[in-house]
Amino acid sequence: MSSIKPTGATYWRSLDELSRTPEFAEAVQREFPNDEFDTLPPATRRQFLMVMGASLAMAGLTACRWPKEEIVPFAHRPEFRVPGVPEHFATSMEIGGAALGMLVTSFDGRPIKAEGNELHPDSLGALSAVAQAQVLQLYDPDRSRRLLLRESGQEFVKRWDDFRAIVPAQFAGDGAGIAVLAEASSSSTQAKLREKFLGARPGARWYEYEPLSRDNEREGTRLVFGSAQRVHPELTHAAVVACFDADPLFDHPASLRLAREFAAARDPESGAGARLYAAESTYSLTGVRADDRFAVASNRVPALLAQVAHRMVADHGVDLPAAAAGFAGSVDSAASDAEARFVQALANDLAAHPGYSVILVGPRQAPAVHALAAVLNHALDGVNHTVTYSSVPDPDRPSHFEAIAELAARMGSGEIETLLILGGNPAYNAPGDLGFAELLAKVPTTIHLSLYDDETSQRCTWHLPCAHTLESWGDGAAWDGTVTLRQPLIEPLYGGRSAIEVIALVAGDEPISGRDLVRRSLGQDLPAMSSEVGWRGALRDGVVDGTAWQKTTPKLSPSALAGAVDSLRSVLDTPDPTSDRLELVVMGDAKVLDGRFSNNGWLQELPDAITKVTWDNALLISPATARELGIGDGEVVVVEANGATLELATYVLPGQARNSVCVALGYGRTAAGQVGDGVGVDANPLRTVAAPYVLRGATIRGTGRQYALATTQDHFAIDTIGFNERNHRVENLVREASLDAYLANPDIFHEYDHHPPLISLWKDHEYEGEQWGMAIDLNTCIGCNACVVACQAENNIPVVGREQVLNQREMQWIRLDRYFKTDPDVPIDEIDNAEVVFQPMTCIQCENAPCEQVCPVAATQHTPDGLNAMIYNRCVGTRYCSNNCPVKVRRFNFFNYHKDLADTTKMQFNPEVTVRARGVMEKCTFCVQRIEAVRINARNDNRPIADGEITPACAQTCPTRAITFGNLNDPKSKVSHSREEHRSYATLAELNIRPRTHYLARLRNTAEESGGESHAPSHAEADTHGKESV
């Protein structure tokens, strides 16, 4: 084995230069440049890039760099492949045991953009911000690119053959002392391989761990039905949705589908007006959308639900099954009038809409609370209407935290000889009380398969580079069980292998490729797959139709329920938090989740929907609690819980529950890579197996030090003048009314526009032909940030880093304006609660664009089709246009932000879009490259452009379809229709800028305003619905 000595290698510039180097010659000889890696020192990325370059160059020489396995449909007709014409491949990614279908755009062999797969039940064509950022992760230069063996304090570079050599020794015998720790997986291929592996080694144990697990829901159903069930909310026809710490619109494996259904359930034009209640400790995106939101400590959420049960039984005679009767009586007193009001309103509304109401409980709540919700949904006749059940795979596995706890115990007792860790990063994200990182040292042989040489890998003896989602074959199941396929879009850049390939390898299977593994497994599951046609069809679609799990109608199990009642009692008995014994809620971050995406610049720089914080996690605290504890906004505090402490800055957030502080996981990484290292602080040490989400008895004390959080928008706390003015302006900018007020007076939103007639000095310009315009529906926008990342990926928008964001130089073209709406009578220093509203803001393409007339070099002018075009190569950068932009959506390249970009990362660039130089202004172009692409095709086919044929990246990925784009000169186009809606209004119309982007006003549907009457769909509809969902 070769010990490491750094060698100074030259950076490759051109093919010719390269082809002269012996490395290249050698690389060309081999089929796999990857095997080259064992001669590389670990430290230098340049070395790697050189070989990367070699492989790229080979691509150039051998026409293309395709996997040797054929990828349908490409393999079918290579002669039709026109270089420079993008192709789309259906594939998928898996997070937390649910597969999400994607459609990836590949440009000459480079995957450059991920979009949703319309055929996939959990995507329906949309894709979350996180999933879209996979493309950037694929090209991450920090990804591990070699096998490493660490022993006796030394590091040795290995090759796969070396690993294969040790397998028989390590995984021999009956498997006693062998343990596998895997991430949650829905892949039937992996399940089969696991059985094979365990079958041959009865003594071996298989553990599954996810730091952000939905097991509480799973266990809750077990408490009610006796067996674990999977819960599927169905919101399309819901009239009342009650969320208890739940975030179905964002933090749910099927959130994209649920968001789409919710949008439909609230479409005022079709008369639907579902009402959303939320009781939660910290703002979730669902909570933002809620018509009636009650901020309450997570610890008290169960009590609220119990009271709702009580009221429904007491006031409305809703009858609970005998075994569950105990639930109702458990709590009957509200802590405050506000709470009582909320409970009463909710109870009334739920009881008034049997069959149209659903209660959802979030993963951080105890199983007993989920059990209660299940019982109530049952009692409200929600089953098979607003909530359906199906079986879960592997119903008997222990919950994730039990699993990791047991593994830790066995590691501690030294039973484990060989530990194989497939993905994940337990050394970083296992609950702090396990001390997992230290325990790894007690295991003689630890093998970690991972994308990065991360915290866990560095403590393991073996590190194996993992193939990225977009580099590997695989399969999985959607949340509803639909079989979903995964195919590689590019040869593994760093010689990684996927989990199934590694399992196959250690299972002693003759090493066969991932493709063969998947195909064999699917062939066994689905006869259709064994035929070439079926297989190729499945690859093309990315899903196999009609493979969703059979919906079940589980029966309540009295025996189980008895236990559930008791455990709920114990949950309810826990005392409510106080300012000296706070509740610390630990949640998964909306961007980097449990930290697995920490090294992704797009996600790190993505402003958090509520706080607008980038590159950090903060301690969310309510203004009242902050005042009580004498802690200021942005002050660094020390949080203590379960004996562990945490030092981080506060973010005073109105609407955060009193005495409940909240911190996101996924930060404070030490071995994430250049991007993610040292960003934020790590909250995992505070978690315990017993209380992984809601930590009681936490204390915080201020240090007096201030820390600047890099936010892209004002904090809630600003000077009084600014605060008052902001409140004053919001109602005009983000127009909102109650549903009933709107139905009573459709013109209500235009009572804001009082300005003199908007006349021009000159004869107005005639806009002939296609005139592009956009409509953004604020009623359906949930602020999920998907559009922001879609835009960043599509338009080569640079990541600028924390320092630049602190200087207010972030570059994202789409800004998700977040405004707190507070009661005007309450002075700023007494505010505790606030409503949050979103307004997606990007270039609104004014017809009388203020930016155009001030540009001295005409670098921004109007195109014939009405776009406010930006001509990058003409721009000299006076920034006058930005100054004169009333919505400040122009972005300036203050530095050359692409200078230090790794060559791999450059492979992600969209070749259709200019990469902007230093000193140049840029902004949203309505994705002009997409418009032109369609226009060219239409011209070639000599036909007009059809409505909906052009979708900008943001509209394409929007889960609720809140963004409509089209031709304003076509009266039949969807965008023209939305323009004519009463809710349609233009921002700052009084300036006579005539924006091409219009907004559709937001509707609120609270019980008071409509006298408790929610707008339920007709019962005829309900029956049909009842039928179809059974």
Binding site: I721, G722, R809, D817, M841, V854, V857, N883, F892, N893
Partner: protein, 485 residues
């Protein structure tokens, strides 16, 4: 001729306001030759005074700082400044407006006072014109370097380029290019033309071949022919007549950069007069700031008399009041227009995050000049000098308030921001003063800093008070039997 000490006041004091007595524009025992001696003497000094060297050492090193900063800016990017979105303009534009404003006093003194027959201007106009040129040089730097791609700044000029595109003449920035360009050119012509006879004087007194050739070349062979003087006078009059509307237009156009935009706090019709008044205000402040030390250093108290200083103090008082009026008018309009954005902008100026800048501005520009109401105070050279310096500070902050505070909080609260200058910003600004003073020191050392020919023309010996004379620039024969042929 000898001056008689008609009163008890120091013979240097000619600040009386008795209309019966024509106040002397030049005091002390001076004949034509004495003036020549005094002025050319400075240029001909065999040994440069120490003070000059000290000042020059400081200013030239500051100039180096300026160039270093510009170099760093060009190689690294505009990001080295504190700019951001929303505040896309900061120090650079503030400095630009500040320096252009400084320039205005020069043209005003040489052109407008000339047309108004203010003969006292003769002692200071050369000096003020020079100041104009150098201020415009400093001003010209900033628009040039504040663009993102400095190497393409020439695209602002209507010259054919690789894109076969023309600049956009609807943009106020382009108007700026023409206004400032014209202003620089005309000021230079004006200044140089006025200097030709004096350069000839230095030529004729030259004791070394080098000096003879250099000044001989610069004076273009001027032989003080009266036929030449005739056209010279005419050309001077015409240039003055042209420079007057020009000087008013330049700052008006500069103000268009703001007035033509739609930003609350910028979009207002009061800007042109407001900016011009401010420019004259700051310009005179700068003249006073410079001239007081200079006249001490080179003993020019007899030519640049107390009366000159007093007159300038009065002008500063007047323009200061105009500026104050403009401030209050803006506030009134903000309230009266009923425009919520406008109203907030001004509330925010006075009480928002940039209130400190606003109140510095008000104190220096409105409060300080009030001391000039009292003749004791305005005739106290030290107080006058301190006040003038404070006014310069205040006028810089006026531009800062207009540019930055308006941008930092515009229409959408979501995009509100705050601008903090970086060290580079500050050093670049300081460096521009270095350049200004360097040029200035070179000027007073090598060029006639007082228009001798003009001063001689207003001395009693020139018989201006000969009965029948109708004042400066009057061409009617007053000799028996003279008639125009």
């Amino acid at each position: 001729m000898s001056t008689t000490h008609s009163d008890t006041r120091s013979y240097l004091d000619n600040t009386g306001d008795n209309p019966a007595v024509r106040a002397r524009l030049v005091v002390g025992d001076n004949d034509f030759h004495a003036i020549t001696e005094k002025v050319c003497g400075i240029v001909e000094m065999p040994k440069t005074p120490k003070m000059w060297w000290v000042a020059f050492a400081i200013s030239s090193s500051l100039t180096l700082v300026l160039f270093a900063m510009i170099g760093y800016l060009i190689t690294t990017g505009i990001g080295v400044w504190g700019l951001n979105v929303p505040v896309g303009w900061g120090y650079a534009i503030v400095n630009f407006v500040f320096w252009v404003g400084i320039g205005h006093a020069g043209t005003l003194i040489s052109a407008i006072l000339f047309l108004l027959r203010q003969r006292w201007r003769t002692s200071i106009n050369r000096f003020a014109e020079a100041m104009t040129i150098f201020a415009v040089v400093c001003a010209g730097i900033f628009p040039g370097i504040h663009v993102g791609r400095i190497w393409f700044a020439y695209w602002l000029f209507p010259i054919p380029n690789q894109m076969l595109m023309w600049p956009n003449f609807r943009s106020p920035l382009l108007w700026d290019v023409f206004a400032v360009g014209t202003y620089a050119t005309v000021s230079l012509l004006f200044w140089y033309m006025g200097m030709i006879p004096d350069l000839a004087s230095i030529r004729d007194r030259a004791t070394t071949r080098l000096r003879y050739y250099i000044y001989g070349f610069l004076s273009l062979g001027w032989r003080s022919s009266n036929r030449h003087w005739h056209r010279f006078e005419f050309a001077y009059l015409l240039l003055a007549a042209l420079a007057t509307p020009l000087v008013l237009s330049v700052h008006s156009v500069v103000s268009f950069d703001f007035a033509v935009s739609i930003m609350p706090g910028w979009h207002t019709t009061i800007f042109p007069p407001y900016f011009v008044a401010g420019a004259i205000f700051s310009g005179f402040a700068m003249v006073v700031t410079l001239i007081i030390p200079t006249r001490k250093l080179f003993h020019l108290e007899e030519i640049i008399t107390k009366r000159h200083l007093e007159n300038m103090a009065k002008i500063m008082l007047a323009t200061g009041m105009m500026v104050g009026l403009a401030y209050s008018t803006e506030f009134f309009m903000a309230w009266y227009s009923g425009n919520q954005y406008e109203a907030f902008t001004f509330l925010n100026r006075a009480f928002g995050p940039y209130a400190w800048a606003y109140w510095i501005m008000v104190t220096c520009n409105v409060v300080v000049p009030q001391v000039f109401w009292f003749s004791k105070l305005r005739n106290n050279t030290l107080i006058l000098w301190i006040a003038s310096v404070l006014i310069n500070v205040g006028m810089w902050f006026e531009r800062f308030v207009i540019v930055v505070s308006s941008l930092s909080r515009d229409y959408l609260p979501s995009s509100w921001g705050y601008y903090r200058p970086t060290a580079i910003d500050v050093l670049t600004f300081v460096g521009s003063f270095g350049l200004f003073f360097t040029l200035f020191l070179l000027f007073i050392r090598f060029l006639p800093l007082i228009g001798m020919a003009e001063v001689k023309g207003v001395m009693p010996q020139a018989h201006l008070d000969r009965p029948g004379h109708k004042g400066h620039g009057d061409y009617h024969g007053d000799i028996a039997g003279a008639e125009v042929v």
